[in-house]
């Protein structure tokens, strides 16, 4: 999941570590472990998020993630289910104890209906987890002031949402994201609500360092093909960002010459 920076062209660098892909993929909601693995492979994601849950003692053998073994990606545990800072910290430490690396996607959502992040608890937990040695990637509203504060307490990235999770609405608060992108000194990963390759392409064109997608891939009719579509969308948007888009133009402009025959 990480080569030496020199080896990867245009790597995503988080906390000093280089990743070959700018697509972070979530592993929830897949119809089967096999489809999950095939979709992850098709996505070429270098970071795959996972959650932590009680073992179901009636199906103790069940292991959705077994199919992910041996892959060349970082497993990034989230703190989904946490409703406050204490719960999130507890979840992060449990995840670390499973033997994976001390990275955490910090999400604290007190309200089950919307699953929107709590800014107060998120900052509180981020401070604790950073001090505890975690590489912290917090999920937040597109709130530029909060993003800056999280950066100041040592978060490795910020992960503002494009729109509410699972809605597939794409980027709905564009100006706030633009302000975050303009001021951040850590990588900005746009997360949640990105429902189509055009959405992730837009995010990358705006200058996002990476994007995160789960629902739109996992619930597609063909998740593996959709993973490939998102992979292409990220590449397309990133390529455009680097190629220097020419920007909106107020007035129409011909693409054919305005001089010459019949117009003379």
């Amino acid at each position: 999941m990480s080569d030496s920076p020199a080896a990867i062209p245009d790597p995503l660098v988080i906390a000093g570590r280089s990743f070959r892909s700018r697509l972070v993929m979530g592993s929830g909601k897949f119809p089967s472990p096999a489809l999950l693995r095939q979709a992850v492979d098709a996505s070429e994601a270098a970071i795959v998020t996972v959650a932590l849950r009680r073992v179901d003692l009636d199906n103790a053998q069940d292991d959705m993630l077994a199919s992910l073994a041996g892959g060349d990606y970082l497993l990034l545990p989230n703190t989904s289910g946490a409703r406050d800072a204490d719960q999130a910290v507890r979840l992060a430490r449990l995840a670390r104890a499973s033997g994976i690396e001390p990275w955490v996607k910090l999400e604290i959502t007190p309200e089950l209906r919307s699953l929107l992040p709590d800014p107060i608890e998120t900052l509180r937990a981020a401070e604790v987890l950073v001090k505890d040695g975690f590489t912290v990637l917090p999920y937040i509203q597109p709130d530029p002031i909060l993003a800056k504060r999280l950066e100041e307490v040592g978060c490795a990235t910020v992960m503002p949402l494009g729109s509410a999770i699972g809605t597939n609405l794409g980027i709905r608060c564009r100006e706030m994201l633009e302000m975050i992108l303009a001021n951040a000194t850590v990588p900005v990963i746009i997360d949640a609500g990105l429902g189509a390759p055009s959405h992730v392409a837009e995010a990358m064109e705006m200058g996002a360092a990476a994007v995160m997608v789960n629902t739109a891939i996992a619930t597609a009719a063909d998740p593996v093909a959709m993973a490939d579509a998102f992979r292409l969308g990220v590449l397309a948007g990133r390529a455009a960002y680097r190629a220097g888009a020419s920007g909106h133009v107020g007035t129409p402009e011909a693409s054919s010459p305005l001089t010459g025959f019949l117009t003379s």
Binding site: A51, L52, R53, A60, P77, R90, R93, A95, S98, M212
Partner: protein
């Protein structure tokens, strides 16, 4: 003795180790994380850690999530 596992009371043999409990429950020790009375139990202590009356355990593991 009685302990609580994932929120449910269970009767188990006195002095049972965590490793033995996991085996009884059919839980793979290589992927599970065990929290005993709110403290994480390192995996290398599963074999030696004996459970006590009233212990509260959480057995958790990584699953798919976004």
């Amino acid at each position: 003795m009685r302990i609580t596992v994932n929120g449910t009371d269970r009767e188990v043999a006195d002095g049972l180790t965590v490793e033995a409990l996991l085996e009884q429950l059919g839980v793979n020790p290589a992927t599970v994380v065990v929290e005993r009375n709110r403290d994480i139990l390192p995996r290398d202590q599963f074999g030696s850690a004996a459970l006590a009356e009233g212990d509260s355990l959480e057995l958790v593991r990584l699953v798919g999530g976004g």
